[in-house]
C-alpha cells in the first residue's frame, strides 16, 4: 500500500476530475447539442475513466470516497438527472439525446452498484444506505 498524504490525494483527485470530468461533461453536452450519440458516448467513457482513476487513487491511499466527494457526486448526478427528466418530459428531446442520457445515467448507476458490491459485498453495500440504529426499549413506569 502506498502512503499518499491527504494533500497528495486531493491533488490527484482534483486533476483527474479537472481533466477527465470536465472533458467528459463537455463531450456529453456537445453530443446533446449536436444530437451526436457517439460524441456523448465518448464523454460518458471519459467520465467512467475518471471514476476508475478516482477509485485507483482511493485504493492507493487506502480509503474510499470522502463524504464531500460523495455529496458532490450525488448532487451533480441528481441535478443532471433532473435536467434530463425535465427535458424528456417536455417532449421535444430527440431520440439520440434520449439514448445518450440513458447510456450516461445507466452506466453511472451500474458502475456505482458494481463499485459498492465489489468494495463492501452485497450485504455491506445495502448497509451503506440502511443505517442501523440501536433498539430503544420502552420502559414501564
Amino acid at each position: 500500500m502506498f502512503s499518499l498524504r491527504h494533500v497528495d490525494r486531493g491533488l490527484l483527485v482534483f486533476s483527474i476530475w479537472a481533466v477527465l470530468g470536465f472533458l467528459g461533461l463537455g463531450f456529453v453536452l456537445e453530443g446533446f447539442s449536436r444530437g451526436a450519440y457517439f460524441m456523448s458516448l465518448l464523454g460518458t467513457g471519459l467520465i467512467v475513466a475518471g471514476f476508475v482513476a478516482h477509485i485507483i487513487v482511493n485504493f492507493m491511499c487506502g480509503g474510499g470516497f470522502t463524504s464531500g466527494e460523495a455529496a458532490l457526486g450525488v448532487g451533480s448526478f441528481g441535478i443532471l438527472a433532473l435536467v434530463f427528466i425535465i427535458g424528456w418530459a417536455g417532449g421535444t428531446m430527440p431520440a439520440s439525446n434520449f439514448y445518450s442520457g440513458l447510456t450516461l445515467f445507466g452506466v453511472i448507476i451500474l458502475g456505482f452498484i458494481t463499485y459498492l458490491t465489489l468494495r463492501y459485498g452485497m450485504r455491506g453495500a445495502f448497509s451503506r444506505f440502511h443505517g442501523k440504529t440501536a433498539p430503544v426499549r420502552e420502559t414501564r413506569r
Partner: protein, 640 residues
C-alpha cells in the same frame, strides 16, 4: 451558437482556473504554517509531484507556442525540436540524484547556495541569480505575451492583451506570494496535467481537421512535391559556414544538422538552471527522479512532442489556417467550451514556468544575494515579506516589458537557455568531475556567457549601442549560441583545470567529494557498463540530433510519412530506452535509500557585519553610477 454564448466559456474557465489557483495556494499556506517553509516547501514535495512539475516546467508553453510554429513555418528540417523530450530529460539523469544528495548533505535549498557552498564563488552565485531573473523577465514573459495576444484575439478584443496579461500576472503573483514553493509545487503538478491534456487535445483536433493521420501525410507528400517543398522535410547538410542570421544574405537554408545539435544543447540548459535545482532541492526524497525522467519526461511528454506537437505543426504546414491560432479560431465557432479548455491548458503550461521562475528569482535576489551581502540581520519573516514584494515587482516588470519593450523582451528570452546551459560545467564539477577547479569553472562560465552574448541579438544590440559592430550575425556557421558558449566554456575549464591547483578547494567541497565517493560509489556492474553508456549516449546524440540526422532524410522514404519524421519517431523510442538505461541500469537516477548526516561546518565566530554591509552597499551604488555614466559617455562618443 450565438456570439455571447461562445464568448462566455473562456471567462468561465478563466474563473475556474483562478479559483483553483487560489484554493491550492490557500491549502499550501495553511500547510506552510509559518515562514520557515516558504522557499522550499520544507523539502517535502512528493516525488511524483516533482516529476510532473519538472516535466511540465521543462516543456512549458514553448513547445505548443514555439515548437509547433517552428514546424508550421519551416517544416521538419530542424529535427531536434522533435527530440525535445529526450534532450530535456538527459541533464536531469546526469545531475538530479547527486544534486539532491549534496543538497541534503549541505542543507541548501537553491542552486545559488549550492554554488556558494561548493565553489565559494560570488560570481557563480550572481550568474545563477541572473539566469533565474532572466527566466522570469524574458523566457516566461515572452510566452505570457504570446498568450495575452491569443486570448485577446479569441475574445474578439473584448479583453485587450494588456488586460489579459495583467489578469494572468495577478493570478500568478497571488498564488506564488501566498503559498510560496509549496503552492508552486501543488499547482505545478496540476498545471502539468492540464498542459499534457491540452497538447493531446490540440493534436487530436488537428488530426480531425486534416482528415486523419493518412490524410495529413498525404498533404505533406503533396507539399513536398511542390517547388522548394522538399527542403521542408530534409536536414540541409551538416554545417554551413555562414556569417549568421542578419549578416549572411544568401538564400541558403540554415536548418543544418549542427543547427539541430546546438539547439538540443540549448534545450539541455533548462534542467541545469536554478529553476530545476529549486524543484529538486525541495523534493522529499530521491526516489522519483528515474521514473520522472524516464517515463514522465522522456516517455510521455517526449511522445507528445515527437507526435503531438509534430501533428499540430504539420497541420499548420499544409494549411496555415490550421496553425495553433487557426485551430482555436475554428473551435471558437464550433466548440467554444473545448477551445476554452485547451486555452486553459496552455495558460497552465506558461504559468507553471512563470510561477517557478518568479519564486526562484525572488528568493535568489533577496535570500541569497541581498541578505548575505547587504543585510544579514534580516529576520526570516522579513526575508519572506521582502521576497513577496520582489516577486510582485518582477511580475509587474514582466507585464510592462511585454508591452513597452517587446524587442528587448525577445532578446532577453533568446539568451536564457544558452546561458543556463553554461551552468553545466559548475554542475559537472560538483557532481561528477571533481578535478574541475574553482578558477577554471568561474572562468569557463564567464567565457561561455561572453560567447553566448556575442552570438545572440542581445549582445549584438548592446555592442551596437556602444558603437561596435560585430562582423557576424546571430548563430554563425548555423551553430546556436549555446554551442558557441559551451565551446568557449569547456576550452577554458579544461585548460585552466590543467594548470591550477586542485587542493585549494574549500572544506565544504572536500566534504562533498568524500560524501559522494562513499555514498554514491558506483557498483561493479555499473563500472563495467560505463564505456557502453558513453557510446550509447554519443551514438544517440550523433544520429538523433547531430550530424547523423542527414541519414534520416531518406532512411524511411516509402512508409507514407516524411522520412525525417519517422526517423525522429524511431529515435524518440530509442531515446526513451537510453534514458531508462542511464537512469536505472547505470544507477544515475535510480532510487536510493540512505540516511544523510548533515555537514557540520567548523564553528566560527560571528562578527558584526553591519559596517561591512554598509560599505558594500556604498560600493555597489558608486559602481552602478560610474558604469551608467561610462556607458552614456561611450554611447555619446561612438554609438548610434
Amino acid at each position: 451558437m450565438s456570439g455571447s454564448f461562445t464568448s462566455i466559456w473562456l471567462p468561465l474557465y478563466g474563473l475556474f482556473y483562478m479559483a483553483t489557483c487560489l484554493y491550492w495556494a490557500r491549502v499550501a499556506a495553511v500547510e506552510n504554517r509559518n515562514t520557515e517553509t516558504f522557499f522550499s516547501a520544507g523539502h517535502q514535495l512528493a516525488p511524483w509531484m516533482a516529476a510532473l512539475m519538472m516535466a511540465g516546467a521543462s516543456i512549458s508553453g514553448w513547445f505548443l507556442l514555439g515548437g509547433a510554429a517552428e514546424i508550421a513555418h519551416h517544416g521538419f528540417a530542424l529535427a531536434a525540436v522533435l527530440q525535445g523530450g529526450i534532450v530535456l530529460a538527459l541533464p536531469g539523469v546526469f545531475f538530479f540524484k547527486r544534486m539532491w544528495f549534496i543538497g541534503q548533505r549541505l542543507r541548501v535549498s537553491s542552486q545559488v547556495e549550492l554554488f556558494r557552498a561548493y565553489y565559494q564563488s560570488d560570481f557563480l552565485a550572481v550568474v545563477s541569480t541572473l539566469v533565474a531573473v532572466l527566466f522570469a523577465l524574458g523566457f516566461a514573459a515572452v510566452q505570457m505575451r504570446a498568450l495575452a495576444h491569443l486570448i485577446s484575439h479569441l475574445t474578439a478584443d473584448m479583453i485587450s492583451p494588456v488586460q489579459a496579461a495583467a489578469f494572468l500576472s495577478l493570478v500568478l503573483f497571488a498564488y506564488v506570494a501566498i503559498g510560496g514553493m509549496r503552492a508552486v509545487g501543488y499547482l505545478g503538478a496540476l498545471q502539468s496535467i492540464f498542459l499534457a491534456a491540452a497538447m493531446a487535445g490540440f493534436a487530436a483536433y488537428a488530426l480531425i481537421l486534416t482528415g486523419g493521420f493518412a490524410a495529413l501525410n498525404q498533404g505533406l507528400r503533396q507539399l513536398a512535391s511542390t517547388e522548394g517543398g522538399a527542403a521542408l522535410f530534409a536536414v540541409a547538410g551538416v554545417i554551413r559556414f555562414s556569417a549568421g542570421l542578419g549578416r549572411d544574405l544568401t538564400a541558403a537554408p540554415d536548418a543544418t544538422s549542427v543547427a539541430s545539435l546546438s539547439l538540443a544543447f540549448a534545450f539541455m540548459g533548462f534542467q541545469a538552471s536554478p529553476l530545476a535545482a529549486k524543484i529538486i532541492l525541495s523534493t522529499r526524497n530521491a526516489n522519483g527522479f528515474a521514473a520522472g525522467q524516464t517515463w514522465v519526461m522522456a516517455g510521455f511528454f517526449g511522445g507528445l512532442i515527437a507526435f503531438g506537437i509534430a501533428i499540430i505543426g504539420a497541420a499548420g504546414l499544409i494549411n496555415p489556417n490550421y496553425s495553433l491560432a487557426g485551430v482555436l479560431g475554428s473551435l471558437l465557432q464550433t466548440s467554444p467550451w473545448f477551445m476554452a479548455w485547451l486555452v486553459i491548458g496552455l495558460v497552465a503550461g506558461v504559468q507553471l514556468l512563470a510561477g517557478l521562475a518568479l519564486l526562484t528569482a525572488g528568493e535568489a535576489l533577496v535570500r541569497t544575494i541581498y541578505k548575505p551581502y547587504f543585510h544579514s540581520a534580516l529576520s526570516r519573516a522579513d526575508t519572506v515579506n521582502i521576497t513577496r514584494i520582489v516577486i510582485g515587482l518582477l511580475a509587474l516588470a514582466a507585464v510592462l516589458m511585454q508591452f513597452l519593450t517587446p524587442v528587448a523582451l525577445s532578446a532577453l528570452a533568446g539568451v536564457v537557455l544558452p546561458l543556463a546551459f553554461q551552468l553545466w560545467t559548475p554542475l559537472l564539477g560538483i557532481t561528477w568531475l571533481r578535478w574541475f577547479t574553482r578558477p577554471a569553472v568561474v572562468s569557463g562560465v564567464g567565457f561561455g556567457m561572453a560567447a553566448v552574448l556575442l552570438t545572440e541579438p542581445l549582445g549584438y544590440h548592446i555592442l551596437s549601442f556602444l558603437g561596435l559592430e560585430l562582423p557576424w550575425g546571430r548563430w554563425p556557421w548555423t551553430l546556436h549560441s549555446a554551442a558557441w558558449g559551451m565551446a568557449a566554456n569547456l576550452t577554458a575549464v579544461l585548460l585552466i583545470s590543467a594548470i591550477t591547483n586542485r587542493r585549494t578547494q574549500g572544506e565544504e567541497a572536500a566534504d562533498v567529494q568524500a560524501f559522494i565517493a562513499s555514498t554514491l560509489k558506483p557498483a561493479a556492474r555499473v563500472r563495467r557498463l560505463t564505456t557502453t553508456a558513453w557510446s550509447v549516449v554519443l551514438a544517440w546524440m550523433f544520429l538523433a540530433a547531430g550530424p547523423g540526422l542527414i541519414f534520416g532524410n531518406t532512411a524511411f522514404a516509402n512508409i507514407g510519412m516524411p522520412s525525417i519524421w519517422a526517423w525522429s519517431g524511431l529515435f524518440w523510442l530509442l531515446g526513451v530506452a537510453m534514458i531508462w538505461f542511464l537512469s536505472y541500469a547505470m544507477d544515475m537516477a535510480s532510487p536510493l535509500h540512505r540516511e544523510i548526516e548533515p555537514y557540520s561546518p567548523r564553528p566560527r565566530l560571528r562578527r558584526d557585519q553591519s559596517m561591512q554591509e554598509q560599505r558594500r552597499l556604498r560600493i555597489l551604488i558608486i559602481t552602478a553610477a560610474a558604469a551608467f555614466v561610462l556607458i552614456v559617455l561611450v554611447n555619446l562618443s561612438f554609438g548610434h
